[in-house]
Amino acid sequence: MKLKLILGLSSALSLIGTPIQAEETNEVAQLKQMLLQMQEKFEQNQSEQRQQLESLRRELAALQSNQVTNDNPVTGASSNTAAQLEPSPPSSRTLLPATNSLSAPLTLVRSDSAYMNISFDVLIAAGGSTAADPAGQLELGDHDPSNNGFSLRNAEIAIDGAVDPYFKGYGNIVYKLDQNNETGAELEEAYLVSTALPDNLQLKAGQFFAAFGRQNSQHPHQWSFVDQPIILNRTLGPDGLRNVGAQLSWLAPTPFYTEAYLGVFNGQGGTAFSFRNEGKDVDGVPRVHGRETLDRTLRGPGDLLMAPRITSSFELTDEQTLVAGASAAFGPNDTGTGKRTEIYGVDLYWKWKPANANAGFPFVSWQTEANYQRFQAAANLTNAPAGYASLPAETLEDWGIYSQVLWGFRERWTAGLRGEYANGNKGSYDPSDIYRNERTRLSPMLAFFPSEFSKVRLQCNYDHGTLFGNQFSVWLQLEFMLGAHGAHKF
């Protein structure tokens, strides 16, 4: 640009070279002066920029050599005495990109800059019970420890990411090994969530957990105890209440958090346990609560499973939060024509965490859920299970509660205690129904988290039930997580 100016000036000079000698001499001298000054300035700028470039280059070289001599990536200590005192692991602070080699693995996924988060989370259990077959009557959840000895009931691949400016997508594929080491695979969740609907609405569609209570929509690695609570198992099923459907939720314009949900699901299968579930009895016959089931397809909107919920949260103090909710689920069940099931639930969660908590510790939390279910069971007059002449039509009522307190008493350590009670009205099939009859359980627990990505949990279960008397179990659970996993809800 300066060059153009100089050229322009020179041509201007030549143009005005014609007038009177005296004036010409003055003007020419002036212009020559200007030209000289501009040339000087131009050269000065050039040298300044050259100097800047040099100093930046020197800085870069210094930083690079600094990085290479730094032995310990954590302390970054560069003094010789420091390096001698401690053996040094390989540096991970080089500015130069790592070349691929056997010792430097490929970075497959990098958090903060990937199209999707992908993680792999595994729960391993080891332990034993006074019951010969714990999965028969005690540990009825699908991801609970399944046998004395070792078991692996949850190896979960979780995927989430932004689909586009309008949707986020989530996937959850769970593998589990049964007692014979056979792999079971479940597409646990696969859904999208809208991000840009008006009026504070949000739409979720696909296969997903119904928003019932607190624990139903959590994956097992989020649970604070090794096994599923009894009452959730009896009402929402061993797999949790999840199905293919859609859910609309609305953030209400209250000053405190209030959200209302309405979920509509197909409501069919084992994951709609108390609804259009074919079931399977001990002798392999499709039965639910002893009633033969008719596996019918959807005949109309009345056959869908409806799951409404409302929840609110309050900041009791600067350090205490309370979340309260009420949920329900309505739909037909498969024991007979026109037979329906209703489930009602209330949930409460309270957490205290001081303002200067160290990595989230200490904290105290208390979670309680109570469910009530009315299940219209049809009569089974022709194909009753062995030992029963027939079963009458009756409404089975089940109720129960679990309450758990967690105390993060020091960094990386949590102690907990969970108490449970479940009971129901008298049903004709009760003597053989593992999902009914009075049951209580007390579970003290201690967990250690070496980091945010691993945990070791020890839990004792004191079980008491009409069907099995008193039983005692001890379970050790190990968890590890690889990859980037989205943050969980509060």
Partner: protein
């Protein structure tokens, strides 16, 4: 269908322009302090994390969802600092104005030169930040970068108040420049001195004032101190005549006190968030001022 989103966004922008003040939510109090310095009374300001709170471990409380839902602007530290809790809140906030790339979404790390960007990601090294060390506001020079970014964004969102924002920005930058000269003078006698800290969050402060804050009580990022590691740190501190241990309010002061007892060092309470420590409530500049003075007082002592 494709016109609905822009039309709605325009309507939302128009309605927010009709309101006098921009509703600004900041994740941490240091950003909030700079936002207040630039925005003055033209913004309503809410901060999510408390000044004594560890910014990595803030609970994603449902009340934050409401705050984000009502916000016109979100200012976050970025660089993965809030990755443990902010995304879950944003997913539920139903606020298009805070969508990634929207004018109301301000990642303060943009334009800041991040240090310690790891070449490989390996959790065996502890919980390292993948985008680099995110505690960049410990260097007052970066505060100017953030202030500039905030001012530019606020001018775009509230053009009528652009003059105020620009004026406040110059004022802020001038004050930082003047104070920084004084702070550098105060700490000049201690250039090259070594300090001990709990966690590697004072790197940028060290770079600015030429102090070496790279002896850590935690053996690896996110791993609590072990007796063996503390023993080594104590040995190093004695060998290098380190007489100052700095500790943030959310860290275990007892551990720092143990180390100090065994080395004759002093524990200095520091914070990167205005209000985290008594005497820093006035804002970013007051906080930096106190930190510099307390460190100078400690470094000058003889063991």
């Amino acid at each position: 269908m494709k016109y609905i989103a822009p039309v709605l966004l325009t309507l939302q922008l128009l309605s927010s322009a009709a309101n006098a003040r921009l509703n600004v939510v900041a994740t941490t109090p240091d950003i909030a302090s700079i936002a207040r310095a630039i925005g003055d009374d033209k913004i309503e300001l809410t901060t999510l994390a408390k000044p004594t709170e560890d910014p990595h471990f803030v609970d994603a409380k449902p009340s934050f969802i409401v705050k984000l839902n009502h916000a016109d602007v979100l200012m976050e530290g970025g660089a993965g600092l809030e990755a443990g809790w902010l995304p879950a809140l944003l997913d539920q906030s139903r606020n298009e104005k805070l969508a990634s790339g929207a004018p109301g979404r301000i990642a303060c790390s943009q334009g800041v030169r991040l240090l310690e960007v790891p070449a490989s990601l390996d959790r065996a090294q502890g919980d390292i930040h993948s985008a680099g060390n995110p505690h960049y506001l410990a260097d007052p020079v970066n505060a100017k970068v953030v202030a500039q970014h905030i001012a530019e964004s606020l001018c775009l969102l509230d053009p009528k108040s652009a003059a105020t924002f620009q004026g406040n920005l110059s004022q802020f930058n001038t004050e930082i420049d003047n104070k920084l000269a004084g702070w550098k003078k105060t700490l000049a006698p201690f250039q090259g001195r070594e300090l001990a800290a709990y966690h590697n969050s004072w790197l940028y402060f060290g770079e600015c004032f030429e102090l070496k804050i790279d002896l850590f009580l935690e053996p690896k990022p996110g791993i609590p101190p072990t007796p063996a590691h503390l023993g080594q740190i104590i040995k190093k501190m004695k060998a290098m005549h380190v007489n100052t241990v700095i500790v943030d309010p959310y860290l275990n002061r007892k551990t720092a006190e143990t180390v100090a007892r065994n080395t004759g060092a002093t524990v200095v309470d520091v914070t990167q968030f205005p209000g985290g420590v008594k005497g820093t409530e006035g804002g970013y500049i007051q906080m930096m001022n106190q930190t510099v003075n307390l460190l100078a007082e400690s470094l000058i002592k003889k063991n």
